[in-house]
């Protein structure tokens, strides 16, 4: 198939299955209402909202790369602690029992609830691991002036890991379970519980520090020939 030049503002290329970008990368459509608009450059900390549906289109976050890097390293450290040491303990009738997050999922599996067990493991262990791992790869790739195209691959899937990563929900669940169990036994709080609390706060901090748009403006495109020149990119950034 031959692609023809339809509008003068577009760059002509010969990829039949790939879309052509607009000449002006600051023109976007709102993902919630499809309204075409131009994203203005705003000051650090300020946000751009869709005039029609009020969706936040972009928030200019200061020092995104360095802050995200530091917070992600801390999150990785806490994640490892949270999943290796006991989270909850219990003393009752002269006996002791301890559990970790994985231990909780394991017990469900043994009790015949394999599907729910996998869901708990996915939401409380696997998704957070993917979320932190993807973020780490993204910030490492962004050390370069022109981050390689695989950075875009991980950034594109980051939203999925965030949707299913439910550590904060799990902590609330643990709190309720503790209240229930406190009627029968003495409950011991493990180190992992405090690590998880800190992790929830760090993940929220990453959320407010990380600016995906800054990465998208620098990253190498999946289709290198389609990418606007560096000069054009620098102009869009300033």
């Amino acid at each position: 198939m031959v692609t023809r030049r339809k509008m003068s503002s577009q760059v002509q290329h010969h990829h039949s299955d790939c879309n052509r970008p607009l000449a002006d990368a600051s023109v976007i459509a709102c993902l919630d209402c499809d309204l075409l608009q131009r994203i203005p450059e705003v000051d650090n900390g300020a946000s751009v909202r869709c005039p029609r549906c009020d969706k936040e289109l972009w928030r200019h976050k200061p020092d995104s790369h360095n802050r995200t890097f530091a917070l992600t390293m801390a999150a990785l450290f806490l994640y490892i602690i949270a999943n290796t040491v006991p989270m909850l303990g219990l003393h009752a009738a002269g006996r002791e029992a301890f559990t970790t997050v994985v231990g909780g999922a394991h017990q469900l599996w043994l009790d015949g609830q394999q599907i729910v067990s996998v869901l708990v493991l996915f939401a409380a262990v696997i998704s957070p691991a993917l979320q932190i791992g993807f973020l780490l790869l993204i910030v490492l790739g962004c050390q370069r002036q022109r981050p390689p195209a695989w950075v875009g691959l991980f950034l594109r899937h980051l939203h999925f890991t965030r949707t299913w990563s439910m550590i904060e929900v799990m902590l609330l669940g643990v709190l309720v379970a503790l209240t229930k169990i406190a009627d029968y036994a003495t409950v011991v709080l493990g180190t992992a519980l405090f690590a998880l609390f800190a992790l929830v706060i760090l993940l929220a901090a990453i959320q407010s520090a990380f600016d995906p748009r800054e990465v998208w403006q620098r990253v190498a495109w999946a289709e290198p020939d389609m990418q606007p020149s560096l000069a054009g990119n620098a102009e869009a950034k300033s």
Binding site: C18, L36, A93, T99, R156, W221, Q227
Partner: protein, 217 residues
């Protein structure tokens, strides 16, 4: 509304859900690929209403056994006792525990039913071509998207209650069959939210606006 609202679809442009880039598909094509992040692109999520409806019906069907079947079975020397989610809320109600009891009531009973009702309302209004309350409807969608995950709370409560109280032969707790249905409600409603395309809320109004413009031209 007298102001014209140009949309990407009207201009034959697709925006990328992965990276936000706006791009133009090959002439005549409905599906494309993002040149920046390689994501598959469409103008609107394909068969969005049907998919959302299917997930929603499945979630509503699971909602009944999720609330009627026991989620926990406690075995003590005196015998065994099974509790549904609602019974768990009642058990948790005490002079000190009532705030948590309210949280569970809210997260496990009210959020899932509110989600099903809200998505049902969005589906019906979009299907009927409603052009009113667009801003409120898209806000409702975003709210459902944000609070939906919190209904997982009860799944975690039951997981850790079960894994800690293993003091055989004195006392042990086992998960009940309701837990699987309850987890299914949470996952199915989350998938329903994901498959709904909020841009459909605006499409009818935009189409009528365009029609009016054509008439006056």
């Amino acid at each position: 509304m007298s102001v014209t609202n140009p949309t990407a679809m009207e201009h034959g442009l697709q925006s990328c859900h992965g990276c936000g880039l706006l791009s133009r598909p090959a002439p005549g094509a409905h599906e494309g690929r993002c040149p920046r992040c390689d994501e598959d692109l469409v103008f609107r999520k394909p068969d969005s209403l049907q998919h959302t409806l299917a997930y929603l019906v499945a979630a509503a069907a699971c909602y009944v056994p999720a609330n009627l079947l026991p989620v926990l079975t406690t075995t003590t020397a005196g015998g065994s006792e099974s509790d549904t989610i609602m019974q768990g809320v009642v058990l948790l109600w005490s002079p000190t525990g009532w705030p948590l009891s309210l949280i569970v009531l809210f997260a496990s009973i009210m959020i899932p039913s509110a989600k099903i009702l809200a998505l049902g309302y969005l589906l019906i209004t979009v299907k009927r071509g409603s052009i009113t309350n667009n801003a409120q409807r898209v806000r409702l969608y975003r709210m459902v998207e944000i609070i939906g995950r919190w209904s997982m709370v009860d799944v975690f409560v039951d997981t850790f209650t079960v894994s800690l109280i293993q003091l055989q032969p004195l006392m042990s707790v086992e998960p009940g069959p309701g837990l699987l249905f309850f987890a299914a409600v949470v996952v199915l409603t989350m998938l329903a939210v994901e498959s709904f395309d909020p841009r459909l809320i605006w499409d009818t109004a935009d189409a009528k606006e365009t029609q009016k413009k054509v008439q006056y031209a």
